[in-house]
Amino acid sequence: MKPDPNLSPPLAPAMLHILLALASEDLHGYGIIQEISRQSHGHYKLGPGTLYDNLKRLMDQKLVIDAPKSSLSNDETRRLYRLTTQGRTVLSAEIDRLHSVVQEARLRLNEKRPRRV
């Protein structure tokens, strides 16, 4: 399948959070939701529909794959999802983009200070 231009940065927030949740370990669907909630301090809660819509797209683009059966330890009935090397590259590119946005924003904010009323 051809690489989707929508998957090059900037990524949709749900995709970014899913990739970020899978960056450190393999997780199942509910685990991804919990990890996203934890990372965002409870501000961003994903529903199962949004999660699997985005997960399907990420899997179609080979950024996320099913984890092999041998790695399933505790809960063998649930599928685990794993970030691929390509997924990690896309995530890194997105983090770099966000970092440059933050840097630019800080510069602008420091340059122009609002007048005192």
């Binding site: 669907g29 529903g47 199962p48 529909g49 649930r78």
Partner: protein, 162 residues
């Protein structure tokens, strides 16, 4: 867990495209059970309705290739594209039929084919009948004109005094 809500969620899930439902349906139901306990039912229903819309649009825009196995699930729901094609073909067929066989259709031609319609047979007979009447009339004129009349006519035209 609320059984009616779960049944409703499952029925909405059943409206998703088969490939998506088979792949993620059970996991979505499992997460629904877990999150219902947190009291997020309304958000979950909005979420799955949005997902339903997204998946159907995605399926229309990017149809998946058929699996190469011996057995595959056949969707009983006809795709919208086929319904539109069928409607267009039906309209074209009806218009063509009414144009050809309607009261303002093309005029029948003389034909000797055995496979002609009854109207064509009727028109063929009429034309043939008129043709025979015309031929008989010509013959009658020829026979009625005598040789003397024709000879006197010729002499009058040539100006001979005899």
């Amino acid at each position: 867990m609320n059984p009616p809500l779960r049944a409703l969620y499952r029925s909405i899930l059943h409206l998703h495209p088969p490939a998506f439902r088979d792949r993620f349906g059970e996991e979505m139901l499992w997460i629904f059970d877990a999150q219902t306990r947190e009291g997020r039912s309304l958000q979950l229903f909005i979420d799955i309705l949005r997902s339903l819309l997204v998946q159907h649009i995605d399926t229309q825009l990017h149809p998946q290739p058929e699996p190469s196995g011996f057995y595959s699930e056949i969707s009983s729901t006809p795709p919208l594209r086929r319904i539109v094609h069928a409607a267009i073909l039906s309209i074209v067929a009806v218009l063509t039929f009414t144009r050809l066989f309607g009261p303002q259709g093309p005029k029948p031609r003389l034909s000797y084919s055995a496979l002609v319609s009854s109207s064509r047979v009727h028109n063929t007979f009429t034309y043939w009948h008129l043709y025979r009447v015309e031929v008989n009339h010509v013959y009658a004129n020829l026979n009625s004109s005598s040789p003397e009349k024709s000879l006197s006519a010729r002499t009058t035209q040539s100006g001979d005094p005899r």
